[in-house]
């Protein structure tokens, strides 16, 4: 017991010194709440790249802090509050599941700016939301997949049956079917964003079902390993996955948050930050299309690049009518494009995709 009390006394002494040392707070502090580990080379890694871009741009004027692998719910609320008590002036919460927590904490700290990724609720003036138009990237991947498949069966590893994922499947299918009317999509729902074993199983099941091109909406590289053995093709997801080029990785769809983070932090520092609902795509650089490898025939590379550029410039919307729903009813008339609202809540397959969305 004596040992313990003397240790406590020593620590209490250190407490006083530490409090004095960390009291200064002149740089702008930005906190990042991550749902996974920064070493996942997927979703969280891409957000951390954004954080590093902020540090690089503003140097000593900015201090960034982060907490990894924060469970959604009460834990996230606590982490955000602690960040603020520690001096954070702005907080990025980088997972959909932080939506309640972000808005709850924002209500208590009106002077702190919050940026919530992929959510839709901005209950208070100090909450903004942002997301990427990944479906634009999926259109380019679908275009390449439609050209590259010889079995005319394209596999799709889907995470959860939510609008984000369903929109991606629809976009990829429409652009695959555009260049290859015989193409069929096989979708496997794995109910995870990151689980190498499950993703590998799903990839193998799709290969066994005859798929020779597989798209993935999950973050690990495990499907790539399976595709490499099966001589099938795939696309990098979240990060570039360039280590699998030139095959099986044909190209990739990358999350690039850096520009947005740098811009928003800059606005907050200058005092002209305002609530916003941001949804940016290839044109703004939030969605990146990775290098297309030489495994893809040259004319396909050219047409895919043209598609990418026309989406980037705004000349072409990946959902341009006529598009019917799976049941044959009309969704978009000739030449029509959807409003962002319905697009954000998309919960149906387009005509031509077989199977049902689980619910």
């Amino acid at each position: 017991m004596k040992k313990l009390t003397s240790l406590m006394a020593g620590a209490a002494l250190a407490l006083g010194l530490g409090a004095a040392a960390s009291a200064q707070d002149d740089s702008f502090q930005v906190g990042f709440v991550y749902v996974g580990p920064i070493g996942d080379y997927g979703w969280t890694w891409t957000h951390d790249q954004g954080r590093l871009a902020v540090e690089e741009t503003y140097g000593d004027a900015v201090e960034t802090v982060y907490t990894e692998s924060v469970p959604e719910g009460a834990d996230a609320e606590r982490v955000m509050t602690q960040m603020i008590l520690n001096g954070a002036d702005m907080i990025f919460t980088t997972s959909f599941g932080y939506m309640e927590a972000t808005n709850n904490v924002a209500a208590r700290f009106p002077d702190v700016r919050f940026e919530h990724a992929t959510g839709y609720r901005r209950d208070h003036d100090n909450v903004s939301t942002y997301s990427a138009r990944f479906y634009e990237g999926r259109a380019v991947m679908g275009h390449i997949a439609g050209h590259m498949t010889e079995s005319n069966i394209v596999g799709y590893i889907a995470s959860y049956p939510i609008p984000e994922v369903i929109r991606g499947i629809n976009s990829a299918y429409l652009h695959a079917a555009e260049v290859n009317p015989d193409v069929e999509f096989r979708v496997v729902w794995v109910y995870t964003w990151f689980d190498p074993a499950v993703e590998a199983d799903a990839a193998q099941a799709l290969v066994d079902a005859g798929a020779d091109v597989v798209l993935q909406h999950t973050d690990s590289t495990a499907p790539m390993t399976v595709l490499a053995e099966a001589d099938a093709f795939g696309f990098g997801q979240a990060s570039d996955m360039l280590q699998f080029a030139p095959a099986p990785r044909l190209s990739s769809i990358m999350d690039q948050w850096g520009d947005y983070y740098v811009r928003r932090v800059g606005e907050a520092m200058e005092g002209n930050w305002a609530q916003a609902d941001t949804w940016e795509g290839i044109g703004d650089g939030m969605v990146g299309i990775g290098e297309m490898t030489e495994t893809i025939p040259e004319e396909v590379r050219a047409s895919a690049a043209a598609l990418r550029d026309s989406i980037a410039s705004g000349a072409y919307h990946p959902f341009t009518g006529p598009i019917n729903r799976q049941d044959g009813s009309v969704w978009l008339a000739e030449g029509e494009t959807p409003e962002d609202g319905p697009l954000a809540g998309m919960d149906f397959y387009v005509e031509g995709i077989e199977g049902e969305i689980p619910n």
Partner: protein, 362 residues
């Protein structure tokens, strides 16, 4: 040459001293690890153990949070400890926690938007029943077909997680949520919410339930025949059988109680701090509670203290991440050290160390 010699009776001094020494050894070994990672070890230990309690910026917020984090851990661990004492190994509290939350939330949402005062008590019962029913699967499989409850209860966690994903994206999804996953918010709706009993204290109904469970378990183990049977079954199974302990009944009871408490913990969490059913609603409480149960030596009061201690390392660990940049895996390793040292020192309450002289060894 060091030799272990069994003590005739467990040392009382070591039973109390081992956890304290384990905490001290964890601080030393953890400090070394932080030093290797380039952190100031004293500073790191201070941030983890003392800042949440005493730093003027954090304490007012962190102290109540300690109860919020420890509440479910204690409630689940108390249930698990009964079975562990009897040699019945429920490793699937995480699954029972999930099913309890789904059943309790489902009950509450079925009456939405009613604000009837009876809904919340009904949710608690539904949550407990859900967890109980999920634990009955390994219980009945064990008593009928002699399956291993460790494997069955553990594997049912993954089934429960799949059902949770289904609930969040399907049958419990918020109809006004624009197609996004997640149920309605229970915590923001009067009638289905699990509020703080005293505002700002962190003390919600689940924390109260945890305290009641601690007292009830203490009384059960020390003053009740059933408690005696549980202890006897774990320490001397054959003797227990001769003493008329019915093993089937004990298995059903221990798994049932631990399942019900885990289910209740899930319900209190979903209706309070978490607020809603979401895809990743479970955050490992059911597994962490196993550590809490052992850290507390399967003793109710020990579990209470262990739950608070582990909650402290979680909250302090988050502070260490954001104040000092200590990586999250280092915090987890730190928590692992705590369990490691405790189990290692456990030996000393049942054995004593003897230094053998060289001539005997040769």
């Amino acid at each position: 040459m060091i030799r272990l010699e069994k003590r005739p009776t467990p040392s009382r001094a070591w039973i109390i001293g081992a956890p304290i020494l384990a905490v001290i050894l964890t601080m030393i070994a953890g400090g070394l690890m932080f030093a290797i990672l380039g952190q100031d070890p004293v500073e790191s230990i201070r941030v983890i153990f003392l800042d949440p309690l005493f730093d003027e910026r954090f304490a007012a917020f962190s102290r109540p949070q300690l109860l919020v984090k420890a509440g479910p851990l204690i409630l689940i661990a108390i249930g698990l400890s009964l079975g562990f004492r009897a040699g019945i190994w429920n490793i699937g509290a995480e699954g029972q926690y999930i099913i309890g939350a789904i059943c309790g939330a489902g009950f509450g949402l079925a009456f939405y938007p009613s604000e009837n005062l009876l809904i919340f008590p009904g949710m608690i019962i539904a949550g407990a029943l859900g967890g109980w029913a999920w634990a009955m699967i390994p219980a009945i499989l064990k008593t009928r077909f002699r399956t291993n409850e460790i494997l069955v209860s553990l594997l049912l966690v993954y089934v429960a997680e799949a059902i949770l994903a289904q609930a969040a994206t399907g049958f419990l999804r918020n109809p006004e949520g624009a197609g996004f996953p997640g149920s309605r918010n229970l915590a923001r709706h009067p009638g289905t919410d699990n509020p703080e009993i005293i505002a700002g204290s962190g003390m919600h109904w689940g924390v109260l339930a945890a305290f009641i469970a601690v007292i009830a378990a203490y009384v059960l183990l020390n003053r009740h025949l059933l408690g005696y049977q549980i202890k006897l079954a774990g320490e001397a199974p054959r003797a227990a059988r001769f003493a008329g302990v019915n093993p089937t009944r004990l298995i059903i009871l221990c798994l049932g109680v631990s399942g019900a408490l885990a289910g209740m913990a899930g319900l209190f969490e979903v209706a309070g701090p978490a607020g809603q059913i979401s895809i990743d609603f479970n955050s490992g409480y059911g597994f962490t509670a196993i550590i809490v149960a052992f850290l507390g030596r399967l003793h109710p009061v020990g579990i209470l203290l262990a739950g608070l201690l582990l909650a402290l390392t979680f909250i302090g660990g988050e502070l260490a991440q954001l104040m000092l940049g200590v990586p999250a895996p280092a915090i987890q390793a730190f928590q692992g050290m705590l369990l490691f040292f405790l189990l290692a020192l456990d030996v000393l309450s049942n054995y004593r160390l003897r230094w053998k002289t060289a001539e005997v060894a040769s």
